[in-house]
């Protein structure tokens, strides 16, 4: 018993704080009715709503939870893939070729500090409130992180490693693919993860302004219709799906970026 306590001491402490908050929450809502359910529904109510939305309930926003998740994922992954497919080669190219850097970097530097959300009005104007405009917004969110990190990663290539490559007779192309890109790979993956984070954040914001379904749309509708339980279910789902996506990428990174550890 003692060893069990020892072993899980820290986890137990964390679990206690969590349980404590849930308990107080339950007490002030359903038990003592200190807070109006219009402001803050009880944990059991939220759990019920979650179950209802998960098992096919479409009230109040018109879609089930899974439909909303799928709708959001389609947009997020669509914009993300385009952003990454353009951003990574752009970053690598600008870091590797001086001429290309001179050509592309000034333009990129102008776009770079513009937050992805600032593109929302223009995107709605150009593409309406359908799939395209949201993908466009996500694109900018993902594209910037992917480019910046790939660029920095390539720039970190060690001079000695390039010398080694050259003295072994590597061509410029081989230096890029066999020396610089492997060096940059951990940074490129960091960029992919940051890009996914930005994409997910931008998605929710974009859906709150221009959408007919999706998690962002769901919580926005719930606010208008006074359903705080649905808002909280939506928030937790957004957080959870974001976490899952990040974990997936981390797994991929572990698998493909082996022994990134530098020495000396």
């Amino acid at each position: 018993m003692k060893s069990f306590l020892e072993k899980y001491k820290y986890k137990l402490i964390s679990a206690c704080s969590f349980l404590f908050v849930l308990l107080v929450w339950q007490l002030v809502t359903d038990v003592f009715h200190l807070v109006s359910p219009v402001m803050l529904p009880s944990p059991t109510k939220i759990l019920g709503t979650f179950w209802y939305k998960l098992t096919g309930g479409t009230v109040p926003d018109g879609s089930t939870l899974l439909e909303n998740i799928w709708s959001s994922l389609k947009i997020a992954l669509g914009g993300y893939c385009v952003g990454v497919l353009i951003g990574v080669p752009l970053g690598v190219g600008m870091a590797w070729s001086r001429k290309f850097e001179l050509f592309a970097k000034p333009l990129f530097d102008i776009i770079r500090p513009v937050p992805a959300l600032a593109w929302i009005p223009l995107m709605i104007l150009w593409l309406g409130i359908g799939y395209g405009s949201k993908v466009g917004i996500i694109f900018f969110a993902a594209f910037i992180s992917a480019t910046v990190n790939s660029y920095t990663g390539i720039r970190r290539t060690s001079q000695v490693h390039l010398w080694v490559g050259k003295t072994f007779g590597a061509t410029n192309r081989q230096l890029l693919f066999k020396v610089a890109i492997p060096t940059a790979l951990p940074m490129i993956f960091t960029g992919l993860r940051l890009a996914l984070g930005s994409a997910w954040v931008a998605l929710v914001a974009a859906e709150m302004l221009a959408a007919t379904s999706g998690l962002g749309y769901m919580i926005q509708m719930a606010r208008m219709l006074g359903r705080p339980d649905v808002i909280i279910v939506g928030m937790l789902t957004i957080g959870f799906v974001g976490l899952m996506l990040n974990t997936g990428l981390e797994k991929l990174q572990k698998k493909y970026v082996r022994r990134g550890k530098q020495h000396d």
Binding site: S158, V164, T167, F168, G169, P182, R259, Q262, D264
Partner: protein
């Protein structure tokens, strides 16, 4: 295996360094920082030449020029009579610090040269096997550099240079970062490897014992701007002994002649 003493083989030079000078623009803008001046020497087939000089006197700068990674501001470098205009696989390099690719296994590091030159895979594998065996690292093929000790990493570096079968090997203080014990061991190891598979070597060091232990010939360098102060032909048989009277005599002779002004 006994080998002939001193300068062996044909006197035809494998590499000639002709009146090479190198200046950099000064950091403070104005003048020039002259690092090398009038470096003039050659190295012969299968000769083990040691360039011996104090720290920061331009040894790395010189080797980079010999490798073709940097261009001299004066003079020229010739390999077998042809002017060096850039890096080439005939001139292999072993670096001061570990320069292994940390994302590649030992075997991929050693097979890197043959790979970029599109050698057929079975031939490449044979090369890897042969040279890992030569440096005594058979069994470590699948390890990553971060899993090896400093001495083992430098052995991989040596195997990698050998695997390309270069005409000449340039070694820039390859043991400078090792502890004294490992360093002695690696000097013996390198001597053994070199006896087994002879190459023309230019080896740079700031350690007189290392120089005397390995060299057929030692070129003593001055401080900046670096030029040649003296040349010594070392005729002692291998393996050499650090406390042999002749070893100690030469050690005294050479250190007395060094520039000690820093």
């Amino acid at each position: 295996m006994e080998r002939a003493e001193g300068n062996v083989g044909s006197p035809a030079a494998v590499l000639e360094c002709r009146n090479v000078g190198r200046s950099f623009d000064s950091y403070d803008g104005g003048g020039k920082n002259e690092v090398l001046r009038g470096m003039d020497f050659e190295v012969h087939e299968n000769e083990f030449l040691v360039l011996f000089g104090a720290g920061q006197c331009g040894k790395t700068t010189l080797l980079n020029i010999l490798a073709g990674l940097d261009m001299p501001t004066e003079g020229q470098v010739l390999t077998r009579g042809k002017k060096v205009t850039g890096p080439a696989p005939e001139r292999g390099m072993v670096y001061q610090k570990t320069s292994l690719f940390p994302w590649m296994t030992v075997e991929d590091n050693v097979g890197f040269g043959p790979k970029v030159q599109h050698m057929p895979e079975n031939e490449r594998q044979a090369r890897i096997k042969k040279y890992l065996e030569l440096v005594g690292l058979t069994g470590f093929e699948k390890n990553y550099p971060s899993q090896l000790s400093g001495g083992m990493r430098q052995r991989v570096g040596i195997a990698r240079a050998y695997a390309n079968q270069p005409d000449i090997m340039l070694m820039d203080e390859p043991f400078g970062h090792l502890d004294a014990q490992t360093r002695y061991m690696m000097e013996e190891e390198l001597q053994r490897i070199w006896q087994k598979e002879k190459r023309t070597v230019i080896f740079v060091t700031n350690n007189i014992e290392e120089a005397l232990f390995l060299a057929d010939r030692i070129i003593l360098l001055t401080n900046c701007p670096t030029h040649i102060k003296e040349e010594y032909i070392i005729n002692m048989p291998h393996p050499r002994d650090y406390v042999d009277p002749e070893f100690l005599r030469l050690r005294q002779l050479i250190t007395d002649n060094m520039d000690l002004t820093l």
